[in-house]
């Protein structure tokens, strides 16, 4: 899928002909689909280390991510929509993670929770077995900082992911938009 997408910051090469209402049905259907997808993110039960405990805290009564409909945690990747990489990924785990990601049916999303999953975190230097960031293995949609991140941070990440899905933009488009805003 090597489709080159023009970032929205660049002007469209050509003229846009406005159609009288033709696109409404398609675009609103897209909106409905994105609404459904964003509100029904079922996470995969996947926790490697400390962050898994904070993920469990997020599921528990005080933070309760079931309010957003995330509580249907599936043990099998076939039925999951979002994989929350909660913890360090080491070299031995990397192929497993890739396989889990491959086993998930599209559309699928990834949240890298915590410093380890983002970059290797505290295990960046002088370790022979830690993968320095899960994005070396699978594409990540949302990164959460912290070691481990607080449950609120994970909730924020999930809501950010919802917004991302609702916006309907691709990864490249979002990147372009962020560049345009100077982030």
């Amino acid at each position: 899928m090597d489709v080159k997408i023009t970032p929205p910051s660049e002007p469209f090469p050509g003229t846009v002909h406005p159609t009288d209402g033709g696109g409404v049905l398609v675009s609103s259907l897209d909106e409905v689909i994105n609404w459904a997808r964003s509100n029904s993110l079922w996470p995969l039960v996947f926790g490697t280390s400390c962050c898994a405990i904070e993920m469990m805290s997020t599921a528990a009564a005080k933070y309760d991510f079931s309010r957003f409909g995330f509580e249907v945690a599936r043990a099998t990747p076939r039925q999951a929509d979002v994989i929350i990489i909660a913890g360090t990924i080491v070299n031995k785990m990397a192929p497993v993670l890739k396989r889990l990601f491959d086993q998930m049916p599209d559309p699928k999303y990834v949240i890298a929770m915590g410093a380890c999953a983002t970059s290797g975190g505290p295990f960046f230097y002088n370790t022979y077995s830690v993968v320095k960031g899960a994005d070396h293995i699978i594409p990540v949609d949302v990164y959460v900082a912290g070691c481990p991140p607080r449950p609120e941070a994970l909730l924020h990440a999930l809501i950010t992911l919802q917004e991302k899905i609702k916006s309907g933009l691709t990864r490249d488009q979002i990147r372009g938009e962020m560049k345009a805003h100077g982030n």
């Binding site: 689909i33 459904a36 997808r37 029904s40 079922w42 079931s66 957003f68 099998t76 929509d81 599209d106």
Partner: protein, 358 residues
């Protein structure tokens, strides 16, 4: 008054005035099919939401409350997402059986809907062997699960399917015995007869303690038959990750998910019909005024509230008890429930012959 039987007879008469008998039949069948499918979808949405709300309530949480007012569109979003998810067949699976299995499970759940009396004089097909029909059909649903487990080519699925096979076939007997005890009391297999026989009191109360025992056994057996915790051997999330539906995704998984809840609805509806008087209002002896008020409530409301009460009880089980082990599960059936229900059936027969019931 607006009652479901009036609506159905109104539709029937207005159609008969204009069309021939055959076309009326065909048209009515189409209407019923559409109504059944709509009911299915609605029930699925409501029951899944109810499960999530009940679990949240038991687990001191809030439950879904962001999607729509009070979160009522949560399950709609889930369903839509599942339908739109990538559907695929895993490598090495038996493609035909893999695709067939969810539909088998679903269709069986649908067929079971036929003889249930939703309200006074309102059933799709009030056949004279209604109870027999239900027991016969419901035992077929195991085939769908076995099919799914075998076709997935996954050890977990296979184990789950085998467990489910052993479990459903075992508990079918107890459930059958419990149903039979009411049949003995009523002397009829027809659902409408059974409901009519409870006009002066529900069998749960009329049948003394044996009926109560039969009711308890029925609830335990159907919890097992629908693969619900504490008997969720077939799925056993912490042991077999997903049991027979481990390899299912998207739409096909949604069908399994839906079928589970429809099955719960059906077994609870049957339980309500047999033991709690179906659509019969609750009457107390000769409290005329009270009975009159009870009569005023539509029969469909009575039926649904009884059914949902039983559904709530089954959900309550799920969120309270730990799971049994497979051998304990079979032991419970063959060593305890089956002898008890056999003996209980004898007692009930005695009661029925001697006319000791009210």
């Amino acid at each position: 008054m607006l009652r479901l039987e009036n609506i159905s007879s109104f539709i029937h008469t207005s159609l008969s005035n204009h069309l021939s008998e055959t076309s009326v039949l065909l048209l009515e069948m189409t209407i019923i099919a559409l109504a059944a499918i709509t009911l299915f979808a609605l029930l699925g949405l409501i029951l899944v939401l109810m499960e999530r709300k009940v679990s949240a309530w038991i687990q001191i949480r809030l439950g879904p409350n962001r999607v729509g007012p009070k979160g009522i569109f949560q399950t709609a979003a889930d369903t839509l997402k599942l339908v739109l998810k990538e559907g695929f067949v895993p490598d090495g699976a038996d493609k035909f059986l893999y695709k067939l299995a969810p539909f088998v499970v679903m269709i069986i759940a649908m067929i079971l809907l036929a003889p249930i009396a939703f309200a006074k004089n309102f059933a799709i097909w009030d056949l004279n062997i209604g109870v027999f029909f239900i027991t016969a059909i419901s035992s077929v649903s195991v085939i769908g699960i076995l099919m799914a487990g075998w076709a997935s080519n996954n050890q977990y699925s296979l184990l789950g399917a085998m467990r489910s096979g052993a479990q459903i076939i075992s508990y079918e007997i107890s459930a059958g015995m419990a149903i039979l005890s009411i049949v003995v009391l009523t002397g009829s297999l027809q659902i409408s007869d059974i409901v009519a026989s409870q006009s002066n009191g529900w069998w749960l109360f009329k049948g003394h303690i044996p009926a109560l025992i039969a009711f308890v056994i029925y609830i335990i057996a159907v919890t097992a038959e629908t693969n619900r915790a504490p008997f969720d051997m077939a799925e056993a999330e912490s042991e077999l990750t997903g049991g027979f539906h481990t390899e299912y995704a998207g739409m096909r998984f949604a069908l399994f998910f839906l079928a589970e809840y429809i099955n719960i609805f059906i077994v609870c509806a049957i339980g309500a019909t047999l033991f709690l008087g179906g659509w019969m209002p609750f009457h107390i002896g000769n409290w005329e005024a009270f009975n009159h008020i009870m009569d005023y409530i539509p029969s469909s409301i009575w039926f649904l509230s009884k059914t949902f009460f039983l559904i709530f009880v089954i959900m309550w089980f799920r969120w309270t008890f730990p799971r049994l082990r497979i051998d304990q599960l079979l032991q419970l059936e063959w060593k305890y429930l089956l002898p008890i229900s056999l003996f209980n059936l004898l007692l009930i027969t005695l009661i029925a012959i001697k006319g000791w019931h009210f």
